[in-house]
Symmetry: C2
Subunit: 343 residues, 2 copies
DNA sequence: GAGCAAATCCAAAGCGCTTTGGAATTTTGA
DNA sequence: TCAAAATTCCAAAGCGCTTTGGATTTGCTC
């Protein structure tokens, strides 16, 4: 069923039917109802392609997910982020176009999306500190919004970020308050902007407490379970092992816990652990009481909000780029406790 | 830059330029080269929408991901599956359109995709035993391919599945060979087809070994870490606790391990665990030697192959639906060992 | 009931591409 | 050398929609 057939069926012109369906005022309420009724029974909806051609809008947003070329890894956070963004899109009649590409091909993909006019805008995932995509997208004139930030950047752009620095500073402060002095950091890859900021929050807290950062206590890598395990093991093997570990992801935190238990220690007593919790749907932080003390910020909510920001920006092209900083909350679970007393 | 401008620039007609770019034979090699060259320097690629309108193809595949309405959970497997499928699409010039929808809305979404002519076909995720989407898509005449199978179904359709029944039968057999008699199952939701088949393989093995299935040893639920933990705890509280547990997902297996260690037991000695491993990028099964003995089958590879099957089906509409059954391999890790002797 | 504004509708152009049916040019064969 | 065949190109129609500019009808006012 297409517009032509539908309008013939109703004995109306295509113009009128189109206007009725798109809420234009030049149509009487009676005909509008008739048209809507008919559209429903014939299961008609306008072809996205034709509509897009006629209006010049794609009614679609592109998500370009970089695939870590080293580990072929898809960020586990992305499923929930996408779910959040998807809610916003479907509420606003947009479609989501997804490209998962080896990170070295990203440039080409953005150019392609632009020149094929496939999307009205894109979401940028996983920004690194000096991210080349931001100037690129500016140059292309393709509206975009970034999940996270790029520290090194002149021109303003739209972003939504969690306050990584503050979250990790608070977590570290919290451990100091419990009496810990040797605190390890199991971080993500530190050319990623979020990881850089987290380390920054961590080291600032250390300095505040008169502690010099110890490279042996600072690991950085792709946040798998195994990475958490290996990192913790290495730290425990030190002469002056940490009594607490801060971890950038729940998944690596599970690895950290494995290392703790393997050593016959008890988490929350012998070793304290704080993790960042993205509130992933399949990785709830325990049941009723949280297992891990955690800095918590829902990545799904981030998806919802950032998508909305991008749609707003597309509809108001003049306006200055919006930005938004979300604060993580610190939830206290059973994985932290006072520092064990030295014998 | 559009076709018109490009052809004016070259002093050719739009027809010729279009043909040159699409590999039609009515164009001399010299002009073709000229055209390709120009397209490259002007960064021209045809508008997907216009092309789609003209050809009647969308050059896009839809993925409709059901969002569990109960737990608002996105299947963690989906990121890797999508990554695999995405590889296939980009190699073939297709786009991936993603909708994440509350499972009760799925029907409407498929109808929308069809009537808006937004996609050439769809991938069906997470089939349940008697899946209504299969007859619906047949009725709509929208090409589709299913990741998994629906047990209750008359008409043939394209699918790719892992041999769940066989994998879990082998896993159970393996535990029997090690002398275990009380074997627990921590399964996914059993209206999901894969989970049903897995339980089936498990019970068949039990019968083969003259053991009657014990409801107390069979849990079914959304496969989170916590679910694994809670399930294992409950089993351990039994008078006649199991000496081995088979688990449907690595994530729940981590929960099972937590319960084991909490009880002060050693996995692989006091309790054996076998998990299914989807080879998710962020959840490697240990480093060099696998931690969990596991039935292994890469879900990313499944994505690659199923996407290809769908594209083939779209290009050869006449042909009978293809199907493919992948066998999981059984990798032996440190999480299994001989059944502890009764004292 | 004439005159005018408001309400309601329509024909046709245009969005950027592919493709049909021909026209123009070059090459070939005898 | 000249007709036929092969090569190379083009104008125009059509894909399904939106939107402009205009035509027609209806409702009011006096």
């Amino acid at each position: 069923m297409n517009l032509k057939e539908l309008s013939q069926n109703l004995g109306l012109s295509q113009t009128t039917v189109s206007r009725a369906l798109n809420g234009y005022p030049e149509v009487s309420t009676a005909t509008r109802r008739r048209v809507e009724e008919a559209a429903r029974t014939f299961n008609y909806s306008p072809s996205t392609r034709a509509k897009g051609l006629a209006t010049g809008k794609a009614l679609a947003i592109g998500h370009v997910i970089p695939l870590s070329s080293k580990h072929e890894m898809v960020n586990p956070v992305f499923g929930d982020f996408i779910a959040g963004a998807g809610e916003t899109y479907s509420r606003n009649g947009y479609e989501m176009i997804l490209s998962i590409v080896p990170d070295q091909d990203e440039r080409r993909i953005y150019q392609g999306l632009k020149s094929r006019r496939a999307v009205d805008g894109v979401i940028v995932h996983g920004p690194v500190m000096d991210d080349p995509r931001i100037p690129l997208l500016h140059k292309l004139g393709l509206p975009f919004a970034v999940h996270g930030r790029a520290s090194v950047n002149e021109t303003p752009y739209a972003w939504l970020d969690m306050n990584n620095r503050n979250a990790f500073k608070r977590a570290t402060d919290f451990l100091f308050d419990l009496g810990h002095q040797r605190i390890g950091l199991v971080n993500g890859l530190e050319f990623m902007d979020f990881a850089y900021r987290r380390r920054n929050g961590y080291t600032v807290s250390l300095s505040d407490h008169g502690v010099t950062p110890d490279p042996d206590l600072m690991r950085s890598g792709e946040m798998t379970e195994d990475f958490g395990y290996v990192s913790a093991r290495q730290m425990f093997a030190l002469d002056d092992a940490p009594t607490a570990i801060i971890c950038s992801s729940m998944i690596s935190a599970l690895g950290v816990r494995r290392a703790i238990e393997e050593k016959g220690l008890v988490m929350g007593k012998d070793i304290s652990v704080i993790s960042h919790d993205d509130v992933l749907s399949y990785l709830k932080n325990g049941g009723d009481t949280p297992i891990f003390t955690a800095t918590r910020s829902s990545v799904r909510e981030a998806g919802r909000q950032l998508a909305q920001m991008l749609l707003d920006a597309i509809e108001n092209p003049g306006r200055a780029p919006q930005t938004k900083l979300l604060e993580a909350e610190l939830v206290v679970g059973t994985s932290t406790g006072p520092a064990p007393r030295k014998d």
